[in-house]
């Protein structure tokens, strides 16, 4: 069992090593087989573990060696597989495998060594992500956390010959670092306070924190989550990260890495439950992000940018769920979102592939005829994300919204507005891409074709999951106790649940109200979809946006704002230090010391007259003086005292 556990991260790591070290000698098919094969093997093992956990219900914790051992303080290198992490394992390896398979076709145009490099990065990413979710303490999680950050950087900057991509990679890296700092501080704080970073110990002793400490720690952790999961204000990297290859966007920026923040908060749910202010902040920021990103997505024309902002928006929903205590809903949304967002990204990738890297939806249209499989699966994905029953998005989003309503009805209304916007921009995207007439060049039209099976099969699999994935979490409204996921995850959130049970003062939504709300929302969504369909399916001409539209198209000018309030001043300060401080103070001091030493040594050198005899003379005389001093200390000291 121990080795089985170890194999899960080890296999991708081996894949990384093989692909990375022998990338010049491996053929493309070989690389693809190795890269995908190790993930498939990891998936199979994860499946085994999943059923084991499901059967026993108890977490598996295995400690391999002491990662850090200082005196009594020990950080073991330990893995923990419980309900939460086994679920994440399945998502990561399962979707990761599909994306690997997809990549073999999508990246086929690359030269073999770059192809292998790509797969090495992907494997390393999967390895880091697995480390992140399997670690039994915050330190191991942090290792994985940094690892995925690194891989994200590497993969965004995969086409490193394009400078813009490199800037995007750098941006993602720096943004992540800001969040990581918070995470790191939180870990230090926990270790300083409790002397351990192991989950079980930390959560068991959560009562020993004062409320202030707890708030501070959870906030710091949340800062980390904000960075990784692209929440306001650290979200700008995610849309830019679309510079990487599309499967990377699907894997990292939709399905796995961005959910690390969700995972972390879900993992430490008890701390958030107990710290009330933090939960509210999380909920508010999540909601704000959801709405904010949705508004931006309304006016984006880049197919991947739309999806990226949609991702940000969905992540905001998940944080809303976490903030209002609907942990299961958040995790549920992570899962369903992984299905349909991966589907959508891969579909978009398929389109981009077919369009020869054309990403502007204004130049698309009417692809329905040319790419039937992509079209169908993409439509299913859109329905799922829009929250049309009975697709998976409906159930997960509904659960979060119900949770939000329980916390505060205002959250619910704003959330519904976001959901409506989601439905709108998704179908705007869908309509502009697949419906109407083709608006691209003739050459592009000539080459339009359905993608190979390595691309379509993952699409189909993901479409099936998107459609039926929601049935894992049928709300109590439909059938009492049919929420399989909630039952499965119950042990993880048990502590929070009991705490809420005793502390909640609010009211529970009656089933009737829920029915009404659900119906109303569904109706509104359908209306919005119809509107979007009508408005965009025949659109031929695009006018320059004006007013709010322009603001939205330019993403609320957030990048410019950051540039003005953070980057410019920093540059100014840096320039000042470089030009003035460095030159006059630092250089002055350094050169002054050098000049002083040069001068003094020139003076001292005069003593070195090269006559051995004189050296020895000085030596002997000094010896006499030293002996005298040692001998006549008292006499000399009294004499000196008399003089001074």
């Amino acid at each position: 069992m121990n080795n089985l556990l170890l194999l899960i991260p080890l296999l991708p790591f081996i894949g990384f090593l093989v692909n990375g070290l022998f990338r010049k000698s491996l053929s493309k098919s070989m690389t693809g087989i190795i890269g995908s094969g190790v993930i498939l093997a990891a998936f199979v093992i994860s499946l085994v573990l999943f059923f084991k956990v499901k059967g026993s219900g108890a977490p598996i914790v295995v400690s391999y060696f002491d990662f850090i051992s200082v005196d009594a303080f020990r950080i073991p290198f330990a893995f923990q597989v419980d309900q939460l992490s086994s679920l994440f394992l399945l998502i990561i390896t399962g979707i990761g495998f599909l994306i690997h398979v997809y990549s073999t076709a999508y990246m086929n145009g690359e030269r073999p060594e770059h192809f292998a490099r790509y797969f090495a990065y992907l494997n390393l990413f999967v390895f880091s992500m697995l480390l992140l979710v399997m670690g039994a303490n915050f330190v191991i999680m942090f290792i994985g956390w940094e690892g995925v950050g690194l891989c994200s950087y590497l993969l965004i900057g995969y086409w490193f010959k394009n400078n813009n991509y490199n800037y995007a990679a750098k941006k993602a890296f720096v943004m992540n670092r800001i969040g990581d700092l918070g995470f790191l501080l939180a870990i230090f704080w926990i270790i300083a306070k409790l002397g351990t970073a192991t989950y079980s110990d930390v959560f068991a002793q959560v009562g020993s924190f004062t409320p202030t400490e707890l708030t501070a720690i959870t906030l710091l952790l949340f800062v980390g989550a904000m960075g990784k999961s692209a929440q306001i204000p650290l979200y700008t990297w995610l849309p830019d990260a679309m510079a990487g290859p599309t499967p990377v966007s699907a894997l990292i920026h939709a399905a796995t890495m961005v959910t690390a923040g969700i995972y972390m908060i879900a993992r430490s749910n008890i701390m958030y439950t107990i710290a009330p202010y933090t939960s509210d902040i999380v909920a508010i920021i999540g909601l704000a992000t959801a709405i904010f990103a949705a508004t931006i997505a309304l006016k984006q024309n880049d197919i991947k940018k739309v999806l990226a902002y949609s991702t940000v928006s969905q992540l905001g929903y998940m944080f809303l769920g976490l903030g209002v205590g609907a942990y299961t809903g958040a995790v549920f949304n992570v899962m369903t979102h992984a299905f349909f967002k991966a589907l959508l990204f891969l579909g978009a990738g398929s389109v981009i592939h077919a369009m020869h890297h054309e990403q502007d939806i204004r130049n698309m249209g009417g692809l329905k005829k040319h790419m039937p499989v992509t079209h169908i699966t993409f439509l299913l994905g859109c329905l799922a994300i829009a929250g049309v029953p009975p697709f998976s998005g409906f159930f997960s989003k509904d659960e979060i919204l119900v949770g939000a309503y329980n916390e505060n009805p205002l959250f619910y209304y704003i959330g519904v507005a976001g959901a409506l916007m989601t439905a709108f921009y998704m179908f705007r995207l869908y309509a502009l891409t697949f419906l109407g007439k083709f608006r691209g060049t003739a050459e592009q039209q000539h080459h339009l074709h359905e993608s190979p099976s390595a691309i379509t099969i993952p699409l189909i699999v993901l479409a099936i999951l998107s459609v039926f994935g929601g049935f894992l979490g049928i709300p109590a409204v439909f059938a009492e106790g049919a929420h399989t996921l909630e039952n499965f995850l119950a042990p993880i959130f048990a502590a929070s649940a009991t705490y809420n049970e005793s502390h909640t003062t609010g009211h529970h939504l009656s089933h009737q109200t829920e029915w009404i709300m659900m119906g109303a929302v569904t109706l509104l969504i359908v209306v919005v979809i119809a509107f979007a369909w009508r408005a965009y399916s025949r659109r031929e001409k695009f006018v320059e946006n004006r007013g709010l539209g322009k603001v939205l198209e330019n993403k609320w000018y957030v990048d410019e704002l950051y540039d003005a309030i953070i980057v410019r001043p920093l540059h100014l300060v840096g320039g000042f230090i470089k030009d003035v401080f460095e030159r006059s103070v630092v250089d002055g001091a350094v050169n002054g010391v050098g000049r002083l030493i040069q001068y003094s040594s020139r003076q001292v050198r005069l003593i070195q007259n090269g006559q051995v005899g004189s050296y020895i003379l000085v030596m002997v005389l000094s010896l006499v003086v030293i002996i005298l001093i040692l001998r006549e200390q008292e006499v000399i000291f009294t004499a000196l005292r008399r003089i001074f």
Binding site: Q608, Q611, G613, I616, V620
Partner: protein
């Protein structure tokens, strides 16, 4: 013999060596004076060794370290002389003199 006699004899020999090093300019004689100093030290070590042997007498080998030390000093002196004389010969070949005042080529 009182140990002071030996100590003073050694000190005197040592100082004669030092004066030689200071006043003579022939590198070989300077070298010889260094040997003289080494020998003064050797004599002192042997005297002390016997002093310990006489005053303590706790072990049959007490004070033997001093003589061993003299032995090592001789070894080092032999090695030093071989190299040093080689250097002097080298210098003589280059400068045609063994005056140490010509040994200031490193100056400046």
């Amino acid at each position: 013999m009182p140990i002071h006699y030996y100590v003073i004899l050694s000190a005197t020999l040592f100082c004669i060596g030092i004066i030689g090093v200071l006043t003579r300019r022939n590198a070989i004689i300077v070298f010889m004076c260094i040997e003289l100093m080494l020998n003064a030290v050797n004599l002192l070590l042997v005297a002390f060794s016997k002093m310990h042997h006489g005053s303590l007498l706790q072990g049959a080998n007490s004070g033997i370290d001093g003589q061993i030390f003299v032995f090592f000093i001789m070894v080092v002196a032999a090695a030093e002389v071989s190299v040093g004389l080689a250097i002097i010969v080298m210098m003589y070949r280059n400068v045609h003199s063994v005056d140490i005042n010509f040994l200031n080529r490193l100056k400046n």
